[in-house]
Symmetry: C2
Subunit: 343 residues, 2 copies
């Protein structure tokens, strides 16, 4: 009916000043405030179901207890999982989250950052698209606390929490090698983003370390805007032609999904004709006839750590922290040892 009660309402009802009410409800100057009036104030506050206006609070204190989160696309299960974990950790610390999807578009991302900052978020968690270096540097100069999540720029000295992508991919390739597959393809995105480059580097280095040839035609970088179609094409090329592969690794969940679908369409038997390693965890994998081996990111831990680091940075924006977490390789039947398959 009536509007929300304010400090003033409580104060008036008791004939005291708003200052006193504020002190009581914030437990400040505890030792100096009358015990009796304090309990009466608290009582009226709960009677009226008083809830402080965070905007007003934020205006005065410059702390809104709100975090901004920018992911590539909240509808992508990986992004959604990140968001969920951020939400939980933030809530536990009394923070709320505002989010936005960048659609891998640096202009949209910059604009999103500004929007969130106008809303006076205390800090930002960002999974940045390519080409955000300048904006992030600017942020850093104005001492806005932020932590990069999942992706980061090696050229920038910023806080981040990400996977050790190089090691994750290296490990996956080694697993395939030790399972007897030697002609290994990689389907990745055509992007300058460092985390993808690292996955590529892990792939190439693993092959070289085992003194195996690396073929250009085995490394497919597909256009992120056209992932489904180009992945399908990549799979066709990898499995046919003069030098077909006997195994393929995918560098993201979208690519894995698109790739597996194409394998179904082409009736390529996994792992008999082609071994497969996917990226990220999704419910979808459970519906594939040969449950795929995949590189599992510690999503919750990533978000949790990033959120914690951000909260630390609110008090010390210059304390930058960089974390690379190890991946987990979940081995299933899509990469059974060749001996087992053909033996």
């Amino acid at each position: 009916m009536s509007k929300k009660p304010s400090l003033k309402d409580i104060a008036q009802r008791l004939g005291v000043s708003t200052a006193l009410v504020s002190y009581v409800l914030n437990n400040k100057k505890e030792n100096r405030i009358g015990k009796e009036i304090a309990t009466r104030i608290r009582q009226v506050a709960s009677e009226l179901n008083y809830q402080p206006n965070r905007m007003a609070q934020g205006l005065k204190t410059n702390r809104t207890r709100t975090l901004g989160l920018i992911v590539a696309d909240i509808a992508n299960p990986f992004s959604a999982a990140l968001a969920r974990a951020v939400e939980d950790e933030a809530e536990q610390q009394g923070y709320t989250v505002i989010f936005g999807s960048s659609d891998e578009n640096p202009a949209k991302c910059s604009q999103l950052i500004d929007t969130l900052l106008n809303r006076q978020v205390d800090g930002l968690l960002i999974a940045p698209p390519a080409g955000m270096e300048a904006k992030l540097t600017a942020l850093q100069q104005q001492r806005t606390p932020f932590v990069l999540l999942d992706r980061y720029y090696p050229s920038l000295h910023t806080s981040y929490v990400a996977l050790n992508n190089y090691q994750a991919m290296y490990h996956a390739v080694e697993h395939l090698l030790s399972s007897g597959y030697h002609r290994i393809g990689l389907v990745t995105f055509d992007t300058t983003l460092f985390h993808m480059a690292e996955r590529g580097r892990g792939y190439l280095t693993a092959l070289r370390d085992h003194e195996l040839p690396t073929r250009k035609s085995w490394l497919k970088a597909v256009d992120p805007c056209n992932a489904a179609i180009e992945t399908a094409k990549a799979i066709r090329e990898l499995t046919t032609g003069a030098h077909p592969v006997d195994a393929v690794v995918f560098a993201s969940n979208m690519l894995t999904l698109a790739g597996l679908q194409q394998l179904i369409r082409l009736h390529v038997r996994v792992p008999d004709e082609l071994a497969v390693v996917g990226f990220d965890e999704t419910d979808a994998y459970g519906l594939f006839y040969a449950p795929p081996t995949y590189i599992q990111q510690p999503v919750s831990e990533m978000s949790q750590q990033a959120t914690r680091i951000l909260l630390d940075m609110l008090d010390a924006p210059d304390r930058i922290m960089q974390v690379n977490l190890p991946a987990n390789l979940i081995v299933q039947v899509s990469s059974l040892p060749q001996s087992a398959v053909h033996g």
Copy 2:
């Protein structure tokens, strides 16, 4: 480096009052303001990259241009898709979204509502869990604009946008019947939520309208907290025993996923031994060997309409609107006519 520029900074630089700056930047009193000073103000504003402090604005105007969104779990692809569509529509209208996951827990949901309101959101979009009637009624009494999304309470006269769940399910069952399946099971959630009840009603009514018997043992209501395990059990029971079914419909995406996985585990051939109709759209379906027929919700349209209605309600909180959207049945091979399968 320095803090963000305020109206005051612009005013000082030009030796005018903040009021004048405010009028210019908000295009108020246009006819009365000097053309020259106006352009100088605008120039300085863009030089300093002035961005209004939305908190302060909100404090004064009681409009933060921020919406609150509560879904069951942002990590669920259906919720994520809703969120994404809300985000896009809100952004287009100059609004930002704060979100939270209720985990189907009414206490958490109520608490979330309060948190969002303290953040002075202008209105709420809520996909409510069971047992929120009282809280929603209270919201309505304090004239807080909100729109229910995906779910609603028939007993409450509130705005909502949801699927026509009854019709969606009725249609799906009719499709199975016309494909020659007559012993149809339903796997749904054990909940009092109206939208689920409607799906159940659609199932039963369709069978009755075709003068087919309805067996209690063919209607499995699984515990949402234990969906994977209970769904597996339900499938086992439906496919074996004295009266096995020849088709099964799932009432949600989670149930469909769990159900299909179990069918793989049990080596039940779809559609040869069992026809299947799923609920909602997910990438996962593409990995199932027999792409499932499914009930497709118009997710984007739902979110879009709900957001628009909410924005309308900001100006007229009493204008309540109720929308039931039709579902789409996407027919694929999991429900091929029996004649085709066995013929």
